[in-house]
Symmetry: D2
Subunit: 304 residues, 4 copies
């Protein structure tokens, strides 16, 4: 059984189908926190949640819940990128000309603002908690709303028809989703991996972020995402959610993790897993496992 940030028909649902296949049993949760709490509680094997959108940025609920210290640990074991393609979906038989009242999620409304302004300048837009919930609402025969802005999967699921497709202002918006499980399921190294963690600075250590980046740089570890999040203790106190290229079983990554652990107040390890994109892994010539092995052999030979 897998969990996800629902309801059915969201982009997260779509990500789940990609990550674990069509046949898997899946249970929607009303919030990101609930979907992740279900993992910690053992209700589900793993849950899918959104972590980052190429337009909106990091998803605070996910970053905060995953990175919280003093919690039972969970690990990311997979990721997938989903094109966020918005459709305007109506009840069968309706046409674009009929649309007066639209319902959707605020993010979707924001991303389709230009299209609406141009094609449906007089339509009223009402907000709902999810795009899938909006589609479900429109599917009710007596709904006051004429159309939903939603994902293709929701349109299909709730028996609506496409009135317009690909209506987002940025046609190439992408959301990244992660599959989160309890520890013990570390994916094997593929040579094309990512490692995620949340680092808490020691208080009042000026230049703490610089220090963290140097711990990575001297081991040849490349960082591919960093986001600051408030620690929620005081204004101006931050932790950092970080993605790095490489796997905990890469020598350079293992040494970098030890370095971060030493210089930080706390490090919440969130997993090593295969990357979803096809960017080439960047490993400097002096950062390969072979180089580490050679240098360690040299060190061993120096001792009697």
């Amino acid at each position: 059984m897998f969990g996800y940030f629902g309801p059915e028909g969201t982009f997260t649902h779509q990500a789940l189908l990609t990550l674990v296949g069509d046949g898997a049993q899946a249970r929607p949760y009303a919030t990101v926190a609930a979907a992740l709490a279900a993992v910690r509680a053992g209700e589900v094997e793993a849950s899918v949640v959104p972590i980052e959108n190429s337009v909106e940025g990091g998803v605070p609920a996910t970053l905060d819940y995953l990175g919280a210290p003093d919690q039972d640990p969970v690990n990311i074991i997979g990721e997938v990128l989903v094109d966020v393609s918005f459709e305007l979906a109506g009840r069968p038989g309706s046409t674009l000309a009929d649309v007066r009242a639209i319902i959707t999620h605020p993010h979707a409304a924001a991303q389709c603002r230009s299209w609406i302004g141009e094609h449906l300048p007089d339509a009223a837009v009402t907000e709902r908690g999810s795009t899938a919930g909006a589609a479900l609402e429109v599917a009710r025969p007596d709904s006051p709303f004429d159309a939903a802005i939603c994902a293709p999967v929701a349109r299909e699921l709730y028996g609506l028809v496409t009135l317009a497709s690909d209506i987002g202002d940025l046609s190439d918006a992408v959301t990244r989703f992660v599959l989160v499980a309890r520890p013990g399921h570390l994916p094997a190294r593929t040579g094309h991996d990512k490692t995620t963690l949340t680092a808490y600075m020691r208080q009042d250590r000026p230049g703490a972020l610089l220090e963290i980046l140097q711990q990575l740089a001297v081991r040849g570890v490349n960082m591919c995402r960093i986001e600051s999040r408030p620690t929620k203790t005081a204004m101006g106190s931050y932790c950092f959610s970080i993605d790095m290229e490489g796997h905990i079983d890469d020598a350079r990554m293992a040494e970098a993790l030890v370095g971060l652990r030493r210089v930080c107040q706390d490090v919440v390890f969130l997993g090593s897993y295969p990357r979803a994109d096809d960017r080439p892994q960047s490993v400097p010539a002096d950062g390969t496992d072979a180089e580490y092995a050679a240098a360690n052999a040299w060190l061993a030979g120096l001792r009697p």
Copy 2:
């Protein structure tokens, strides 16, 4: 005339009153973007918008709108910290025991979840676009909602009464608001200032963030906030919103700005302004204006 992210009675409204005084004429805007667009359009002298919350983190709409390149520049000319103190407000005559239906903004609902669970476990919570809008709704005699979670200023404005005060889970949550104007109103240096900018990396320059932090470190400039934001062009492409201690008229800051401008693809300067908090300014002994002046005089003396 000043603009702000309204409606009347929000914490932003409260921030405006603190920043520009009770007597100022103020106009609410429905979104952060609209409040800032009004500045660029010259409709208002300056606008107040939230930029950061100690629990929720940075406000994406503000960070993105302010930091967008290729726009007419705007500058932050002041900031204020407002305690985010939530109240449960009802119609006159009502009591806590009467409350079955609550309405509020999702952030406020999230921050008061524990209190509600303990004191009103059976109450239904409905979401509305702002806490002030929630208070206005409750003020309607025939409203289906019994109470709003809102700011004290909204409760007062809409003639409600306090059913419970300080009900947030984190009693010391704080939001930072900034006053934004067109360029030309740079506040004078006070010795206790902050400078804000958005830095765009050169593409495919590994270690670009490390390079930025080193540009600050070698000049003795301390960074007090950094947030990555997507550039909205592609997944994995980020810019950084940065607050630093000091004023553009401090020698170390001026030199650091030049350094950032050189190594970055673009830098959007967002102003130097007095800090609202009372943290001591941290200037290393070799980073004072006197040290810079002495070193520049030495350099001048080396030339014939």
Copy 3:
């Protein structure tokens, strides 16, 4: 049997007596290179050579011979600091007023120039290969030289008398001597140790020295001496002789050595040994063995 850079009566001889005791058998060699070659050849157990003087700087012959790559390795196993106190020594019965012709080593002449200028302005100074050789010359009854500038130990050895003592311009000059053996005699860690090596940069890697220093800094390893030496291949090609605080058995030093080995073209390890001075060891809080052990245990716990 121990070797040293002789002849008898040099400061190096004095250092040998301090390092291995009065009773040890010792053989003088005419050059630093010969004294070290005797170690490599197995003629002696270990040799004592000067490595650094507080006035003259590093001793090139020692640095180059020890740091040469592609040689059988040798290790420093001890060090001692010797006050370089110069005396003017004459034949028994002579007095300061009799001195017209002085003989000594060029370094000694340089370091006593002010004293000679003031007290014996008309004396001629002739140079000889060592201060002990100068004392031996003066000890010959028919020597044309009236006095030698030499170490107290040479004056005593060759039966001369003190005409003036402590005549160096810098009364606190100190020379550091090292005891060098074949590998296999690594001194145990004392908690107050030094590690020495010679690092060869990869060619045409700009910022290679900066990279080396960062490898040390991120592990909390403090550098206490660095000297560049030509690699003798081309003008502008250098290697670096480096002393660091700590022992190869300190976790931070072991990791730093591996880091240097990776980023350098070659590293010639020259030993870990107790420090002769009494400066406190500087180990940052996050660089102790306990911190490394804790971080490694944490890392181990992350894997299934």
Copy 4:
């Protein structure tokens, strides 16, 4: 009138002829210190001294004298590289087979050791203060020495004949000489320049060298030589003699000099001058004068 480290016929003399032409009046001085003191005293317009040899390394006397703080400043205004080609020179009529006794400077003896061992294994080698002095000695008809190892210019000057040429073990040894004058003769920027200085660290500032290198790196200034020298105050107290690519009139160099002046206890500027070698100048794209000018113009535009 120019001074140089003599006597006539040394490689320094040869460097002088290259730097200022054959017709210039030149006066030899017995030591490097005397040749430089003559500049400070105004006895000569400028002096030529050796600063670095590709085999022996830096010339301590030159580095220490030039870099001494609290002295009237002098500046390097030119440099030249001279191939150090050693000859075995004898009296006219003599042959290689006649050579039993050789005289030369210790450095020359060291650099020709292999050749002597192979071709004249039974010859005695005696040391003299300079190779030119050795040639002069051999030129005396009643000299006990049969041959001198010296420069071609000395052989010619003292009427000797070549018994063997190019006898150094490293056939491509090179010495770098500098022309030193009082301030006021700063050579114009050529785009292919070098800047030299001596930097004194602040005491007890761990990582001070790292800090210096970072001041250069963030401005895109490339370092081409660094040598530590004792400050002569205490064992373990060093200053650094540094050559950098670029001219004080390059924007990046001017800013780097100001940075070094701020973070160091003292900086002794020793001049900007055209480079003698033909290595390409390495200036990063963000370190050109044009980039600095553009960034400064941007900064100026930010202020009202």
